[in-house]
Amino acid sequence: MEPDGPDLAQLRRGVVQHCVLALLEDEPRYSYDLVTALGEHTPLVTSEGTIYPLLSRLRRQGLVTTSMRDSEVGPPRRYYALTDAGRQHLAAFRGTWVAFRDATDTVLATEEPT
Protein backbone atom coordinates (compact mmCIF):
# COMPACT_ATOMS: atom_id res chain seq x y z
CA MET A 1 0.00 0.00 0.00
CA GLU A 2 1.21 3.46 -0.84
CA PRO A 3 1.82 5.62 2.19
CA ASP A 4 -0.53 8.59 2.18
CA GLY A 5 1.22 11.92 2.27
CA PRO A 6 -0.23 14.75 4.31
CA ASP A 7 -1.35 16.31 1.02
CA LEU A 8 -3.67 13.42 0.26
CA ALA A 9 -5.24 13.55 3.73
CA GLN A 10 -5.81 17.29 3.25
CA LEU A 11 -7.37 16.72 -0.17
CA ARG A 12 -9.70 14.01 1.10
CA ARG A 13 -11.05 16.23 3.84
CA GLY A 14 -14.04 18.00 2.45
CA VAL A 15 -14.20 15.94 -0.73
CA VAL A 16 -14.88 12.34 0.29
CA GLN A 17 -18.16 13.15 2.04
CA HIS A 18 -19.56 14.35 -1.27
CA CYS A 19 -18.53 11.10 -2.92
CA VAL A 20 -20.59 9.27 -0.28
CA LEU A 21 -23.57 11.48 -1.12
CA ALA A 22 -23.05 10.77 -4.83
CA LEU A 23 -23.03 7.00 -4.22
CA LEU A 24 -26.44 7.36 -2.57
CA GLU A 25 -27.89 9.54 -5.30
CA ASP A 26 -29.82 6.85 -7.18
CA GLU A 27 -31.01 4.64 -4.35
CA PRO A 28 -30.50 3.81 -0.67
CA ARG A 29 -27.61 1.44 -0.06
CA TYR A 30 -26.72 -1.20 2.47
CA SER A 31 -23.95 0.20 4.69
CA TYR A 32 -21.54 -2.63 3.91
CA ASP A 33 -22.02 -2.25 0.15
CA LEU A 34 -21.64 1.52 0.43
CA VAL A 35 -18.41 1.25 2.38
CA THR A 36 -16.85 -1.41 0.16
CA ALA A 37 -17.88 0.49 -2.99
CA LEU A 38 -16.15 3.63 -1.74
CA GLY A 39 -13.21 1.56 -0.48
CA GLU A 40 -12.56 0.46 -4.07
CA HIS A 41 -11.32 3.97 -4.84
CA THR A 42 -8.07 3.86 -2.92
CA PRO A 43 -7.01 7.49 -3.32
CA LEU A 44 -10.32 8.61 -1.81
CA VAL A 45 -10.19 6.78 1.51
CA THR A 46 -7.52 5.52 3.90
CA SER A 47 -9.41 2.29 4.59
CA GLU A 48 -12.96 1.00 4.80
CA GLY A 49 -13.05 1.42 8.57
CA THR A 50 -12.47 5.18 8.36
CA ILE A 51 -15.69 5.61 6.34
CA TYR A 52 -18.01 4.72 9.22
CA PRO A 53 -17.22 7.83 11.31
CA LEU A 54 -17.86 9.88 8.16
CA LEU A 55 -21.26 8.21 7.70
CA SER A 56 -22.13 8.99 11.34
CA ARG A 57 -21.25 12.63 10.81
CA LEU A 58 -23.32 12.90 7.63
CA ARG A 59 -26.24 11.44 9.54
CA ARG A 60 -25.77 13.93 12.40
CA GLN A 61 -25.67 16.72 9.82
CA GLY A 62 -28.96 15.52 8.36
CA LEU A 63 -27.51 14.86 4.90
CA VAL A 64 -28.30 11.14 5.06
CA THR A 65 -30.72 9.01 7.05
CA THR A 66 -30.51 5.38 8.08
CA SER A 67 -33.12 2.68 8.33
CA MET A 68 -33.04 -0.99 9.18
CA ARG A 69 -34.30 -3.47 6.62
CA ASP A 70 -34.87 -7.15 7.10
CA SER A 71 -32.51 -9.43 5.28
CA GLU A 72 -33.14 -12.90 3.91
CA VAL A 73 -29.75 -13.93 5.26
CA GLY A 74 -28.71 -12.89 8.74
CA PRO A 75 -29.72 -9.94 10.93
CA PRO A 76 -31.47 -6.74 9.74
CA ARG A 77 -29.28 -4.46 7.64
CA ARG A 78 -28.64 -0.75 8.01
CA TYR A 79 -29.44 1.21 4.87
CA TYR A 80 -28.30 4.74 4.11
CA ALA A 81 -30.41 7.14 2.04
CA LEU A 82 -29.90 10.69 0.82
CA THR A 83 -32.09 13.40 2.38
CA ASP A 84 -33.31 16.48 0.51
CA ALA A 85 -30.64 18.50 2.26
CA GLY A 86 -28.07 15.94 1.16
CA ARG A 87 -29.27 16.17 -2.41
CA GLN A 88 -28.98 19.96 -2.41
CA HIS A 89 -25.55 19.70 -0.84
CA LEU A 90 -24.40 17.33 -3.56
CA ALA A 91 -25.75 19.51 -6.37
CA ALA A 92 -23.98 22.56 -4.95
CA PHE A 93 -20.73 20.64 -4.57
CA ARG A 94 -20.87 19.38 -8.15
CA GLY A 95 -20.87 22.94 -9.44
CA THR A 96 -18.12 24.03 -7.08
CA TRP A 97 -16.02 20.99 -7.82
CA VAL A 98 -16.09 21.35 -11.60
CA ALA A 99 -14.94 24.96 -11.37
CA PHE A 100 -12.31 24.06 -8.77
CA ARG A 101 -11.02 21.07 -10.74
CA ASP A 102 -10.83 23.01 -14.03
CA ALA A 103 -8.93 25.85 -12.41
CA THR A 104 -6.54 23.45 -10.69
CA ASP A 105 -5.94 21.51 -13.91
CA THR A 106 -5.24 24.71 -15.80
CA VAL A 107 -2.76 25.99 -13.23
CA LEU A 108 -1.02 22.64 -12.82
CA ALA A 109 -0.72 22.24 -16.60
CA THR A 110 1.02 25.64 -16.77
CA GLU A 111 3.43 24.67 -14.04
CA GLU A 112 4.26 21.29 -15.50
CA PRO A 113 3.41 20.90 -19.18
CA THR A 114 3.14 17.35 -20.46
Binding site: S31, T50, Y52
Partner: protein
Protein backbone atom coordinates in the same frame (compact mmCIF):
# COMPACT_ATOMS: atom_id res chain seq x y z
CA UNK B 1 -20.04 -15.42 14.99
CA UNK B 2 -16.97 -13.91 13.42
CA UNK B 3 -16.17 -11.76 16.44
CA UNK B 4 -15.15 -14.96 18.15
CA UNK B 5 -12.31 -15.06 15.65
CA UNK B 6 -9.29 -14.18 17.80
CA UNK B 7 -7.88 -11.88 15.10
CA UNK B 8 -11.12 -9.94 14.72
CA UNK B 9 -11.67 -9.79 18.49
CA UNK B 10 -8.17 -8.41 18.99
CA UNK B 11 -8.74 -5.81 16.27
CA UNK B 12 -12.05 -4.69 17.81
CA UNK B 13 -10.51 -4.64 21.29
CA UNK B 14 -7.78 -2.34 19.98
CA UNK B 15 -10.41 0.04 18.56
CA UNK B 16 -12.22 -0.09 21.90
CA UNK B 17 -9.03 0.80 23.80
CA UNK B 18 -8.07 3.67 21.53
CA UNK B 19 -11.57 5.16 21.51
CA UNK B 20 -11.99 5.24 25.29
CA UNK B 21 -11.97 9.06 25.35
CA UNK B 22 -14.62 9.49 22.66
CA UNK B 23 -18.22 10.39 23.60
CA UNK B 24 -20.03 7.18 24.60
CA UNK B 25 -22.60 7.46 21.80
CA UNK B 26 -19.99 8.01 19.09
CA UNK B 27 -17.92 5.13 20.37
CA UNK B 28 -20.84 2.71 20.66
CA UNK B 29 -21.99 3.55 17.14
CA UNK B 30 -18.50 3.07 15.70
CA UNK B 31 -18.07 -0.32 17.37
CA UNK B 32 -21.54 -1.46 16.29
CA UNK B 33 -20.82 -0.39 12.69
CA UNK B 34 -17.50 -2.23 12.66
CA UNK B 35 -19.00 -5.40 14.16
CA UNK B 36 -21.79 -5.30 11.59
CA UNK B 37 -19.24 -4.79 8.83
CA UNK B 38 -17.22 -7.83 9.92
CA UNK B 39 -20.41 -9.89 10.21
CA UNK B 40 -21.28 -8.96 6.63
CA UNK B 41 -17.73 -9.38 5.31
CA UNK B 42 -17.06 -12.84 6.72
CA UNK B 43 -18.93 -16.11 6.44
CA UNK B 44 -19.45 -17.85 9.78
CA UNK B 45 -16.75 -20.39 8.92
CA UNK B 46 -14.22 -17.79 7.71
CA UNK B 47 -10.63 -18.96 7.93
CA UNK B 48 -7.73 -16.96 9.28
CA UNK B 49 -6.66 -15.63 5.89
CA UNK B 50 -10.16 -14.33 5.13
CA UNK B 51 -10.34 -12.57 8.50
CA UNK B 52 -6.90 -11.07 8.00
CA UNK B 53 -7.87 -9.77 4.56
CA UNK B 54 -11.10 -8.22 5.85
CA UNK B 55 -9.23 -6.53 8.72
CA UNK B 56 -6.59 -5.27 6.30
CA UNK B 57 -9.28 -3.57 4.23
CA UNK B 58 -10.91 -2.12 7.34
CA UNK B 59 -7.55 -0.58 8.13
CA UNK B 60 -5.41 0.28 11.13
CA UNK B 61 -7.42 0.69 14.38
CA UNK B 62 -5.50 3.92 15.01
CA UNK B 63 -6.62 5.33 11.64
CA UNK B 64 -10.23 4.32 12.22
CA UNK B 65 -10.36 5.86 15.71
CA UNK B 66 -8.46 8.89 14.42
CA UNK B 67 -11.15 9.42 11.78
CA UNK B 68 -13.89 9.05 14.41
CA UNK B 69 -12.07 11.53 16.65
CA UNK B 70 -11.75 14.09 13.85
CA UNK B 71 -15.39 13.69 12.79
CA UNK B 72 -16.63 14.02 16.39
CA UNK B 73 -14.40 17.07 16.96
CA UNK B 74 -12.52 15.43 19.85
CA UNK B 75 -8.89 16.63 20.17
CA UNK B 76 -6.21 13.94 19.96
CA UNK B 77 -5.19 12.48 23.31
CA UNK B 78 -2.06 13.92 24.94
CA UNK B 79 1.05 12.00 23.88
CA UNK B 80 1.94 11.03 27.44
CA UNK B 81 0.71 11.45 30.99
CA UNK B 82 -0.89 14.77 31.91
CA UNK B 83 1.46 17.68 32.67
CA UNK B 84 0.30 17.78 36.29
CA UNK B 85 0.67 14.22 37.44
CA UNK B 86 -1.34 12.95 40.37
CA UNK B 87 0.29 11.87 43.57
CA UNK B 88 1.57 8.35 43.85
CA UNK B 89 0.37 6.54 46.95
CA UNK B 90 3.69 6.84 48.79
CA UNK B 91 3.90 10.55 47.97
CA UNK B 92 0.37 11.16 49.26
CA UNK B 93 1.11 9.22 52.46
CA UNK B 94 4.30 11.21 53.03
CA UNK B 95 2.54 14.54 52.63
CA UNK B 96 -0.37 13.39 54.78
CA UNK B 97 2.03 12.35 57.56
CA UNK B 98 3.71 15.77 57.47
CA UNK B 99 0.39 17.65 57.60
CA UNK B 100 -0.88 15.45 60.42
CA UNK B 101 2.44 15.89 62.29
CA UNK B 102 1.92 19.65 62.25
CA UNK B 103 -1.70 19.35 63.38
CA UNK B 104 -0.96 17.17 66.43
CA UNK B 105 2.49 18.52 67.29
CA UNK B 106 1.28 20.99 69.93
CA UNK B 107 -1.34 18.62 71.30
CA UNK B 108 0.39 15.24 71.37
CA UNK B 109 3.98 16.17 70.65
CA UNK B 110 5.56 12.67 70.71
CA UNK B 111 3.11 11.51 68.04
CA UNK B 112 3.74 14.72 66.10
CA UNK B 113 7.50 14.18 66.13
CA UNK B 114 7.06 10.54 65.11
CA UNK B 115 4.82 11.47 62.17
CA UNK B 116 7.25 14.22 61.19
CA UNK B 117 10.13 11.74 61.07
CA UNK B 118 8.05 9.25 59.07
CA UNK B 119 6.93 11.95 56.65
CA UNK B 120 10.45 13.23 56.06
CA UNK B 121 11.72 9.68 55.49
CA UNK B 122 8.95 8.95 52.96
CA UNK B 123 9.40 12.28 51.14
CA UNK B 124 13.15 11.70 50.92
CA UNK B 125 12.75 8.15 49.64
CA UNK B 126 10.15 8.75 46.90
CA UNK B 127 12.37 11.30 45.15
CA UNK B 128 9.48 13.39 43.89
CA UNK B 129 10.67 16.57 45.57
CA UNK B 130 14.27 17.72 45.35
CA UNK B 131 16.33 20.65 46.63
CA UNK B 132 14.22 23.55 47.90
CA UNK B 133 11.02 21.61 47.34
CA UNK B 134 12.26 18.76 49.52
CA UNK B 135 13.26 21.23 52.27
CA UNK B 136 9.83 22.85 52.01
CA UNK B 137 8.13 19.50 52.29
CA UNK B 138 10.23 18.52 55.32
CA UNK B 139 9.32 21.79 57.05
CA UNK B 140 5.61 21.47 56.21
CA UNK B 141 4.63 20.60 59.84
CA UNK B 142 5.88 24.02 61.02
CA UNK B 143 3.19 26.16 59.32
CA UNK B 144 0.53 23.57 60.14
CA UNK B 145 1.56 23.68 63.82
CA UNK B 146 1.42 27.49 63.65
CA UNK B 147 -2.08 27.28 62.20
CA UNK B 148 -3.16 25.11 65.14
CA UNK B 149 -1.46 27.50 67.56
CA UNK B 150 -3.06 30.55 65.98
CA UNK B 151 -6.50 29.04 66.49
CA UNK B 152 -5.74 27.69 69.96
CA UNK B 153 -4.26 30.91 71.38
CA UNK B 154 -7.33 33.18 71.03
CA UNK B 155 -9.58 30.43 72.39
CA UNK B 156 -7.16 29.61 75.18
CA UNK B 157 -6.78 33.23 76.26
CA UNK B 158 -10.45 33.97 76.25
CA UNK B 159 -11.59 34.84 79.70
CA UNK B 160 -15.12 34.40 80.94
CA UNK B 161 -16.04 36.54 83.85
CA UNK B 162 -19.26 35.92 85.68
CA UNK B 163 -20.69 38.19 88.27
CA UNK B 164 -23.79 37.87 90.28
CA UNK B 165 -25.73 41.05 90.89
CA UNK B 166 -27.63 41.87 93.99
CA UNK B 167 -30.70 40.01 92.79
CA UNK B 168 -28.62 36.86 92.42
CA UNK B 169 -28.82 36.86 88.60
CA UNK B 170 -25.54 35.70 87.11
CA UNK B 171 -24.13 37.65 84.19
CA UNK B 172 -21.24 36.33 82.16
CA UNK B 173 -18.93 38.16 79.80
CA UNK B 174 -16.35 36.57 77.54
CA UNK B 175 -13.22 38.43 76.51
CA UNK B 176 -10.66 37.29 74.00
CA UNK B 177 -11.42 34.52 71.48
CA UNK B 178 -14.17 35.83 69.27
CA UNK B 179 -13.57 39.29 70.70
CA UNK B 180 -10.17 39.46 68.96
CA UNK B 181 -10.98 39.51 65.22
CA UNK B 182 -7.44 40.54 64.28
CA UNK B 183 -5.97 37.35 65.69
CA UNK B 184 -8.64 35.24 64.00
CA UNK B 185 -8.14 36.92 60.64
CA UNK B 186 -4.41 36.27 60.95
CA UNK B 187 -5.11 32.64 61.76
CA UNK B 188 -7.37 32.24 58.73
CA UNK B 189 -4.80 33.89 56.44
CA UNK B 190 -2.13 31.55 57.79
CA UNK B 191 -4.46 28.57 57.26
CA UNK B 192 -5.15 29.53 53.64
CA UNK B 193 -1.45 30.11 52.94
CA UNK B 194 -0.55 26.76 54.46
CA UNK B 195 -3.24 24.93 52.51
CA UNK B 196 -2.02 26.57 49.29
CA UNK B 197 1.59 25.64 50.06
CA UNK B 198 0.58 22.04 50.67
CA UNK B 199 -1.45 21.96 47.48
CA UNK B 200 1.48 23.41 45.56
CA UNK B 201 3.72 20.64 46.85
CA UNK B 202 1.12 18.03 45.91
CA UNK B 203 0.87 19.42 42.37
CA UNK B 204 4.51 20.29 41.77
CA UNK B 205 5.58 18.49 38.59
CA UNK B 206 8.09 15.74 38.86
CA UNK B 207 11.31 17.50 37.91
CA UNK B 208 13.32 14.40 37.23
CA UNK B 209 12.27 10.82 37.50
CA UNK B 210 13.50 9.11 40.64
CA UNK B 211 16.79 7.35 40.05
CA UNK B 212 16.81 3.65 40.64
Amino acid sequence: MMTTQPLASAWLARVEDLSADLPAGVRAELLADLREHLAAALPPDADRAQVAAALDRLGDPGDVVGAARADAGVPPPPPSRPAVPGLATAEALGLAALVLAGLVLLVVWPLGLLLWAVGVAVVASVGRWRGAEACGAALLPVPWALVVASFLVPVGTSVTTCTADSAGVEQCMTEGGGAQPVLLVGAVVLLVATVLATRWLARAPRGRPARR
